[in-house]
Structures are given as C-alpha cells and as structure tokens.
Symmetry: C2
Subunit: 338 residues, 2 copies
C-alpha cells in the first residue's frame, strides 16, 4: 500500500474542518455526532476516497473483527462448501474471514496459524484435531479462541463443531456387512496426521470386529485425495489374490476413481463389486452408478462453526460445541454380492 496516495483520517479532518476524533466517531459511533457534521464528514470521505487504514485501526483499537481459518487445501469441494457457509455467516455480522492452507502439513499449519495470529485474528477455525501439542500450547498462551471442525470426538473436551467420523464409517461398514459382504477392502486417505482419515479406518475396523470379521486383517490402501490415485489404489486391490466383493472408500473422490477402475477391469458395479464413498459431494449423485455414501452436512457445519466461534468471542459462552448428524445415502453402487 502506497500511503503517498492514501488519504488519512487527518486529511479528511482537515478538509472538513473538524478534528480527527470527530471523523473517527462518524465512522464508529455515528450517533455521537450531529446530523450536519456527519453529513459533511461523509461527503468529504467520499470525495477523497478515504478508506480507514487497517493497521492503524488494529493498533489503536486492539481488535480486528477478523477471524482466520486454516484448511488443508482449497482445491477440494468439501472444504470449499463448508467454508463458504462459514464465511457467509461471518460477513453477516461484519467479520472478515482470512483463509490459509496447510497442504496437510502440520508444520506448515503452525506457520500459517502464526501468520494469522500476527494479523490480529480474534478467533480461529481449524480442521480436525490431530496436530502437535506445540500448536495447541501456542493457541492457549495467546488466548486465541478456536473451534475444531470436520470431526467430533465424543470423549475430548475441546470445542468441536463436527461429526463423528469413526461412528459414521462404522455405520457404513455395518450397512455393507448387512448386505452380505464378507470380503471387504478399504481405500483410505493418508492417515498420517489426518484424524478424519484415520478415524474412518478405525470405524470400519471396529464394525468388522463387531461382525466377527477380523478388522485387523482388513486390506487397506492409503491414497491421496484424487481421482487418479483412487484408480491406482483400486487396481492394487483388484489384483490381489482374493478379490474383495466390496470396497469402502474414505471419500467420494476415491470412490469415483475406484468405480472407474473397476469398469476398466471389466467389472460391473454393483453386480460384480460394490463400492461406497464418504462426504456426499455433488459428484456422488451424478456418476453412474450413483454412489452410496455418507452424507455430511457441510454447509450446516460451516454455519454452526461460525455461530460457535462468534458466541465465544461475544463472551456469551465458553464453547457451544456441537455434534452434527451424518446419514447414509443409498444409491446404486452398493448391492448384495452375487
């Protein structure tokens, strides 16, 4: 910002023939200044194209009306949708959202959090719960209120606004088992430092154990979040000696990749092999066969997270955490084994 060109409060005050205090009041507490002065000042502001200098403002008032979010990646429909809702709710009350991304790297996440904190954010939205304790220690020390989303752990005391990935994955696995599948495999996201991915794996394992199928022996391929690596992962599974009759995928993109690969192998879905997803993105209802998946209320989650954070900032409450319900959406990609 080249301040040479940016008019300041001072400029406005001089031009309008009032004090800087008055101009500031027009901006922040219009009721305190007389009708005529207010109009004069506003006109002057408009003439000069004045915009308050954020730095000065933050410095003097010690509030930024800004909250931050660090997400793994922007290049992913599910975060985009939830975040959009989050932002809409914030901007309704005049709060700006700053978004940064971590590329799924905890160190980078910490770095981004520090960057946001030095920009004076009043609160923070984070995805999931798995991160180094240094990160949490930093947030505590700086007294930055934060909300964790996209996951919910019943037992822990932090402020979650999300859903129980483990339970949802269990439910899906149970559904698959109920259809009669015995040889089940899984394509999961990269579980290292991604609690959503690892909770989903755990959930599936637990359901298998419950049903008397060994969860420990569940064949798993981990794979980054993309269509093509979903295909590759599926190819690996299909080439194994005892081909699974059902593949549970850690998210919809992997599942769609897997369906594509199954077809390439000459298999029909779901007659020859069943495949399920997780997230219920738009894609899930568009491909053929329609994808049986876990529906996650992303927009509702974003809205709720914003609400929770705002109420912490208001001082209304310490943490109004919230567990959102997921549900299984039955489409065509899951059927009984033949």
């Amino acid at each position: 910002m080249k301040s040479k060109f940016a008019p300041t409060l001072h400029d406005v005050a001089r031009q309008a023939g009032v004090s800087t205090a008055t101009v500031s009041r027009v901006l922040n507490f219009p009721a305190l200044v007389s009708e005529s002065t207010r109009e004069l000042v506003l006109r002057t502001i408009d003439e000069l194209g004045y915009t308050p200098h954020f730095g000065g403002r933050a410095l003097a008032s010690n509030r930024s009306n800004t909250i931050g979010a660090v997400i793994p990646t922007m290049d992913n429909a599910i975060f985009a949708r939830g975040l959009q809702a989050f932002q809409e709710t914030l901007s309704d009350v005049g709060v700006t959202l700053l978004v940064a991304s971590s590329a799924y790297d905890p160190a980078r996440e910490f770095e981004q959090i520090r960057a946001l904190v030095s920009r004076g954010i009043d609160g923070l939205l984070l995805i999931g719960v798995a991160r180094p304790k240094e990160t949490y220690a930093f947030l505590e020390r700086r007294r930055i209120p934060y909300v964790l989303t996209w996951n919910y752990r019943p037992d822990e005391k932090v402020c979650f606004v999300g859903f129980d990935n483990r339970a949802a994955a269990s439910a899906m696995a149970r559904t698959v088992i109920e259809r009669g599948h015995q040889r089940i495999a899984m394509i999961a996201g990269i579980t290292a430092s991604n609690d959503r991915a690892s909770d989903r794996v755990e959930g599936v394992r637990a359901a298998l154990d419950e049903a008397g199928l060994s969860g420990r022996d569940l064949p798993i391929v981990e794979s980054v979040y993309s269509l093509s690596s979903g295909r590759r992962a599926c190819a690996t599974l299909l080439e194994s000696k005892s081909r699974p009759t059902a593949v549970i995928c850690g998210n919809d993109v992997l599942a769609v990749g897997a369906i594509g690969q199954a077809k390439t192998h000459g298999l029909r879905v779901p007659e020859d092999i069943s495949i399920t997803g997780f997230d219920d993105i738009e894609l899930a209802e568009v491909i053929e066969p329609g994808l049986t998946t876990v529906h996650v209320p992303h927009r509702r989650m974003g809205k709720a997270a914003a609400g929770a954070l705002l109420s912490i900032l208001d001082g209304t409450t310490d943490c109004r955490g919230m567990e959102l319900e997921t549900r299984i959406v039955m489409r065509e990609s899951l059927a009984a084994p033949s």
Copy 2:
C-alpha cells in the same frame, strides 16, 4: 486479539536485555546483528511465544506483503483450483493471500475491494472485466495494482492474465456445426455483469453467423451455476417445439445437469442429442458419456497471474499480461446428429 496476553517487541527486548531496534533487526535484517545477539533474541522470542503485531508493522513499514483476491464464489471448483495455484505461488515468496467473495454482485465486490484495501493489500486479483467504472476509478486513485483473470479481451489495455472466452466459445460452436448440427441451442450462465458468460454467448452467436445460421435466433436459457438449474434449463429447451440436436452449455456443471435431464427425458446422449460444456473440470471426464468441453488451464492461469502481479509490485514491469490457450477436449457427448 487480546493484547493483554500478546508479548510485544518491547517485552522481548526487555527480557533479552537489548533494544527494540535490535529485535526488529533480528526479524527483518538478521545479517545486521551479531551471531550471539541474534541467537539470544530468537530464543527469547520463542520462550515468550512472540508474534509480531501485524497492525504495528503495517503502520510503521507501510507495506503489508499481502495481496487480495475477490472471486464470485468459493463454492465452485474452477475458482478454487486457479486460486490454489495463485496462492501457492505467492506463499513461495512470503506473500499472504486474502480472499473475499462477491456472490456475483458488483456492489458487493466493490465493498469487498474496499475492505481489502483498508487491510493494506499491495495488489489485487479480480475475476473478469465487467464492473462499474467507480470501482476502477477507486483502484486508480488508490494506485492499487491489479490483474484481471478468467478472461482476455484482445483489444483492451488493462492487465489480463486469462483466456479469450469469446474465441473459445466460437471454436466450440464451430466444432458442433462441423459435425453437421443445424438446430443448436445454448444454456448460458447469468450474463448480467458476468463478462465470461456473456462473451461465451457472443462467441457462439458469432460462429453461427459465420456458418450462415442466424446467431440472433439462437435459443438461449440463462441459468445459475448449479446441476439442478442446468437440468431445469435443459427441460425448457427440450419442451420447445423444434427440439435442438445439440446444446452448447456455458460451463461443465450446466452441461452435466443437462445430460442428466436429457436422460430423464428418455434421450440418449449423444445419439439423440449432443451436449457440450466449458471449463473441463474433473467431473467432465467422469460422467457418462464423457463430456466434450473446452479445456481451461486453471492452474497455469493462477500461477501466471501471481507472477504478473508480483512483477508489477517489484516495479519490474507495468503489466506483463498474458493470453492462455484453451483447447477443445473431445469426449463422447458430441456426435453427428442422426
């Protein structure tokens, strides 16, 4: 931000027994301070969990190392992908990206631009070219360098890093015509204050005129960017007296919706009706039939836009605008009429 808890430069200086200037130098010009002092200061910073106060910094240095972007919506794969690349390039050189969204509303866009400017952004990324002249006037007055993306107008002098929507749409229309289609219709985005959408319409019309089919008479339904309204738009077209043999869609999402609706009507794609898209999102190669569409190099565009903006900020160049090439990707959804 509760400064009661935030250690300041001063605190660090006192604790380390040096002056604030020295601490500041450790942070900004490490070479200027001796090895031993530097280590001491860094250790102290770490102990205290100090983070520089952005406001103070921006105020004193009059630079923010921040650039802003205002996009129509985050809830849209194509912007997400380009923006992700944009951000990656920026963060490589230590520049932070601030993202705001306008919901396709010019007034709201202006508002967001003002908000970003008062946060001290050094530069700005905007989508498309159609916006009120007040917005441009404001940017000129404040001397904010900006780059326009997602479009390219050969004749204009502003700094574009994008592609020629009009030409690309023409190329697609020509391809359709070459296949032998005569009864062509279009499903477009909302053209009001969306130059990408209107340029695509223009492009199609021009190609029709060239081929001796009246561009003016092209049946068009405008539709917001979503699967379901793509379906609705397609339904409208299918119910008209002379059903088109080919539908050119303003983007892939509309096209996918249209394909779904065509199937619902009992039509086979492409045997009974051809449908084309624009953007080449992941979805396009996944649905059945594969979507013939215009490929747009979103990531390359994001990277290039970042480069252009950075070089303007360096003072290297006034504007290194750039036109990116699009190409038509032939898949199965376009064939000759039967």
